[in-house]
Amino acid sequence: MRDLEHISQGRDINEVMATIPYVAFLGITFEKVADELLAKLTFKQDLIGNPSLPALHGGVIGGFLETAAIVQVARESKIRVLPKTIDITIDYLRSGRPLDTYARATITKHGRRVANVQVIAWQDDPEKPIAAAHGHFLLEPLGEANGDDKASA
């Protein structure tokens, strides 16, 4: 994605995210809270899975965590395309209520080709996370040698 290398140079993530239709549809933004960048999922009715509780849809929470992970990897890597998810495992800890949700992604291992990331999501109480996830993301580094990026398949 053409603008992606700018993310690692600190260019505004929200501008880039706004160009991704599904991310914009879910309403995922990033904000700086006390010196760290958090992902935010702003509540709206379309995110609900079970209306009788009501609770956020598990797939929405999963997509939110995955996006937070991908952005964190993009910020900490020199890459030209979005990292690809190899695998992701989501643990559902508590029902997501009709509130805004926040997530923090941490890279546990940043390899040359694979990043291992953990993500945690909460709503009104960071001590009571609603979900946690971990996953592996595939990186295509900016050129193996001297910008030759035809080297990779």
Binding site: P21, D46, L47, L53, H57, V60, G63
Partner: protein
């Protein structure tokens, strides 16, 4: 399966189809459809739409849509395995991506709830375009049964499903 049991299963499918689309806001919002549902299995589809795109350069649907489909399909497959609407809650969901989705194509998925224990149901799912042997992604999920955090809602859902089934079987009977 006896004729009565077959009829009951068919009615249950109809009722579940209506419920998934009408009563799950996010499923409705992304255009999720039930293609078929039978004992312990469900096949769902998401038609391609521009607002579901994850990469505007290629036009490929966002991975989060696949997560949603698979989570939903696994839930439906579990309900179909249980035989009566039960409060269930996803414990965990693992998705492995085999290949990128192709641009501008619909996505289907099939889920199979292959094991039900007293407290937990285990489900496998696959997302694909046309050929299930060429999967985009596979998943494994575990669901808690009669989960506290999933509600008291099952009584409402159960009444709705049984109500739908009664309506359908009444019109079915009147058409002989």
């Amino acid at each position: 399966m006896s004729k009565d049991a077959e009829k009951e299963a068919a009615l249950r499918n109809e009722a579940l189809k209506g419920m998934l689309i009408d009563h799950v806001p996010h499923a409705r919002a992304i255009g999720l459809e039930i293609v078929s549902a039978e004992k312990a299995r469900a096949r769902l589809k998401v038609p391609y739409a521009p607002f579901l795109v994850g990469n505007p350069d290629t036009g490929v649907i966002h991975g989060g849509v696949i997560t949603t489909m698979l989570d939903n399909a696994c839930g439906v497959a579990t309900q179909m395995a249980l035989g009566e609407p039960t409060a269930i809650a996803t414990l965990d969901l693992r998705i492995d991506y085999m290949r990128p989705a192709a641009p501008k194509l619909d996505i289907q998925c099939e889920a199979h709830c292959f094991k039900v224990t007293k407290s937990v149901a285990f489900v496998r799912g696959t997302a694909f375009h046309e050929d299930i042997e060429d999967p985009i992604a596979t998943c494994m999920a575990a669901f808690m049964l009669a989960a506290n955090r999933a509600g008291p809602p099952s009584s409402g859902m159960r009444e709705k499903v049984l109500g739908e089934m009664d309506k359908l079987s009444a019109s079915d009977r009147s058409e002989g």
